[in-house]
Symmetry: C2
Subunit: 248 residues, 2 copies
DNA sequence: TTTGCCTAGATTGTATGCAATCTAAGCCCG
DNA sequence: CGGGCTTAGATTGCATACAATCTAGGCAAA
């Protein structure tokens, strides 16, 4: 209780304004912040995450940063090379297809499980989510698309949560985060990457407890998203990454 | 090249005989060793893994041990409590059911994917695996059952590998490791936890490219394994764990 | 005897220092 | 002028020191 203010709590230390919740787990907090930044695409694939730099940003030592980076590496959001450091992952087209294959494999089962546990409160949660999507969709601007993709993922995440299996839920969280990376890399800006109507239709099928139909809708929804990607291996992409990252 | 032999290389230091591969990743090596020990049930659920102790065992510093423990925690094989340490996970009955629910959800999809990529070499690999199972099955003794369970898991793992999706494969690896924990906790020693004939039948269906039948066989195989568990919440189990773990 | 507090030891969380490795700029040589 | 080598700086891997916290045992009071 004494030494804690060595770290922060005085407002003008200018960094740390967020982490450093007294006794909480700071590595986890940093991990979450970095993950948000990655799935929100504020950190582009290929970006290097320098341990010292990140540490300075959050005002913690490299020890803590390394724990956060290791966790994200395990989640597949970073790739780390020995003695070289950690980089925001840039999935290959094959890996991108694997992500969507995995989702097509898992999510229909999720539908079946979710229907069994679907009560009024769950339906209400789904409706609230759709409204949120609607809200986001009517906005414009640079970060509107970011929010749109996030909101879209949240629908699928809610499906996983309703299914009520913590393990599968974590798998889905990982798959959704990876999806965000894939869309960041291969998404064609022109097309709306995640049709909003799809979600509404899926929910309708869920409410009717029509697992078969909901699954079909879900799968074609995923097909649709994947079709909007440009997964051809163009020579420029590996090059751009070989150049060492970042958007600029 | 100079400092390395500070660590090991002289035979009578009595520890280190295995880790410390020059430039390799020692945390990963320790992680793998610990995981083997857990899924082989040499480390019982609830066992505490003391950082200093593990470090002394492998002759590395706590820094490296912590990385290994963090990885295993992420995989769900350990649970770690802040300021208290890491323990071999002991899944609750609910979590145990979640493991098998997840496998029932994923493995049928695995069958479908595997059949698409099933060639002569894959079939040969399956046959070799079954022979290995046979071999293990005919052995007796204390560690025969351990090997049996391991071999059984390997069949499912091979299925995941043949399916050719690295992400799903990793999910399956995690689920199989957790299955081993669950069986360790709730398995009834009397019943053969994983019928060997089941695998042969599944393979037969795979060879006929009958995905429907293979899936059905697989699911009832999983049902069978789960049925052999005793998932009733007996008052003694939480108590025994509250007492602080270990078998004795 | 039991309950509660308190202190000493053990254990984990974090920062920091040093060695190993990588990276990039400068230099020599062709 | 271009290419390979060398070296200084930057960065990661690891060990260790110290701080924060937990745990266990003893002691006193009810």
């Amino acid at each position: 209780m004494r030494v804690l203010q060595t770290r922060c709590t005085d407002g003008f230390r200018s960094r740390c304004h967020w982490i450093t919740r007294g006794g909480e787990d700071r590595a986890a907090a940093i991990r979450d912040r970095l993950r948000d930044a990655i799935v929100d695409r504020r950190l582009a694939p290929g970006t290097k995450l320098n341990e010292t730099e990140v540490g300075a940003l959050f005002d913690v030592s490299r020890t803590v940063v390394r724990a956060a980076l290791q966790a994200l590496t395990y989640e597949g959001l970073l790739t780390s090379e020995r003695n070289r450091g950690a980089f925001v992952a840039s999935p290959t087209p094959d890996e991108a297809r694997h992500v969507f294959d995995a989702r097509r494999l898992i999510e229909p089962g999720l539908v079946a499980a979710a229907i069994k546990r679907l009560g009024p409160s769950e339906i209400a949660a789904f409706r609230a989510r759709l409204e949120e999507e609607d809200h986001v969709l009517h906005q414009t601007g640079p970060m509107a698309r970011r929010a749109e993709i996030n909101a879209s993922g949240d629908f699928h995440l809610l499906l996983a949560r309703v299914a009520g299996n913590a393990i599968i839920q974590r798998f889905m969280e990982e798959l959704l985060a990876r999806s965000s990376l894939v869309i960041a890399l291969y998404g064609r800006s022109g097309a709306s990457s995640c049709g909003h109507g799809d979600h509404a239709n899926i929910l309708a099928a869920l409410e009717q407890r029509d697992a078969e139909r909901a699954s079909q809708l879900l799968v074609s929804h995923l097909d649709h998203i994947e079709a909007d990607l440009d997964l051809r291996t163009k020579g420029s992409l590996p090059l751009r990454e070989a150049l060492g990252g970042r958007a600029g």
